[in-house]
Subunit: 297 residues, 2 copies
Amino acid sequence: MIRIEPSWDFYRTFLTVLQQGSLSAAARELGLTQPTIGRHIDALETSIGFQLFIRSPQGLIPTEAATDLRPHAEQLASNAAALLRAASGQGGGVRGTVRISASEVIGIEVLPPILSALSDQHPDLIIELSLSDAVENLLHQEADIAVRMVEPEQDALITRRIGGIPLGLHAHRRYLDKHGIPEKLEDLLDHRTIGFDRESAFVRAIRKRVPLIELMRPSFRADSNLAQLAAIRAGFGIGVCQVALAKRDPEIVRLFKTEFTLPLETFVVMHENLKTTPRCRVTFDALVEGLLAYLGK
Amino acid sequence: MIRIEPSWDFYRTFLTVLQQGSLSAAARELGLTQPTIGRHIDALETSIGFQLFIRSPQGLIPTEAATDLRPHAEQLASNAAALLRAASGQGGGVRGTVRISASEVIGIEVLPPILSALSDQHPDLIIELSLSDAVENLLHQEADIAVRMVEPEQDALITRRIGGIPLGLHAHRRYLDKHGIPEKLEDLLDHRTIGFDRESAFVRAIRKRVPLIELMRPSFRADSNLAQLAAIRAGFGIGVCQVALAKRDPEIVRLFKTEFTLPLETFVVMHENLKTTPRCRVTFDALVEGLLAYLGK
DNA sequence: TCCTAATCATCTATTTTTGTATATCAGATA
DNA sequence: TATCTGATATACAAAAATAGATGATTAGGA
């Protein structure tokens, strides 16, 4: 039974201990001392009435109860960070921190010049870029704005459709010189191809489009699209990547230009709450404009 | 510029001051003293670098900045409460607090017997009932389970469709004795009717079904369906309410049984995270079963 | 086997936070 | 006008939280 509400700071301490694995490490992380962290955990355990950690000389091992509470504590941390970001943007004008979530490929290959120009225009704007393909992080307020490849169905979000980024099959000229150029799609079965590690919505979309993919046995697998792109650039074999990115390297050749093309629908998404805050508004617009330009629109 | 992260407790204090409107009232609310609350606000203002309140002898007036931060602070409070509820349910078995959100009518007229039976079966279960028609409170974790009249489109939610609760036009016999029984739908225009205060999705659904409603000039308006039900029971006039509720009072007569009937789709909804926690599982099942029984299924 | 490095627990001095009491101000009321 | 009630601000003492130092325990490596 919980008698009095614990200090919210205890939640922060609790999460940090979970993340760091020991009182000492959490103390270093938070700029406090180990006895203080220990007292916080003790107080929290007393307050909620059960044990959160098993102490050991190697650190603290979370109990099942602690693991159950972890997502709540993480959300609390996200919200606290969101509040601070909101606070940093106060005072009118474009200033403060804006946190953008995007896929690895987009974040590394496409966004930097867009964000760089934005930053030049608004020197007081601090840009954080979080690279992840998880769709949910807008709802958890881990980011203010997201570039997504699936249309979100959430009402509280403002969504702007950018269009389909064309994907194509590509290989490095070095690879083709050595292994020959496939003439028909079926020839791909005899080539070294680059594929996905795990099943995902994106992979299913490709399969649907080109059932042949099903039969292929990739000789290189990676979940990270970035790693796949690197593999194509390194001449490892034939893989799927954005046409615009491939064009940057004159040594990379597009294959089956007519037979295989796949538009990757792209959206810029923002919390409705943030539409009036200048820094988010400006960043949202810059992303939309920059991505449209990237698509040649 | 924010230099060091403020204590999370300051956020709680900040929100309480916003809610209560003065340092003194917030101090009473939190069980602290007015100087302490004042120091918390001072420290938070120093930390984030701008003023949150204008002090006055009548209390504290929030600045625009404070108003902007308010939703974040509220979400923080919801999450902290959700964490505590999760904590209260630890230890296996059906125990702890479960928070249910439902519309006023459902919560007052339909749920009590269901929840009462549930409570008898599980003495360690503490039930909180939050009456509101806002759809979003599941996402904000203000409730664990919700009874909703619109199907949520959110992926992270578990939804169970109950079916359509039939609505009908009703009036008290006392009213009909005095004003006569309308023969045709058009006759309603000459009667005292009970209508809605504001536009809502529910109202639009009714309008679509029975365009005649558009023409009616209700002599009693209330947003609260509960107030409308009370008005029908008091013999004020003719209004819309659940058929099953009207039947409980033999003095209430249903009108235009064939011409006017409207099923109110009903869903029980729960966060996916909570499906393994016994108290939520059990409550969810009890609500589904109870509501199906209420519908005669 | 012994040494090192990491951990948590405990005790005490110090710093920080909080509470108490009081002063001050603005508005409502007789 | 005098008074009462609510509010914030300030000074100082009390309480609480914190840091620092030390000891005990364990794992891993020479």
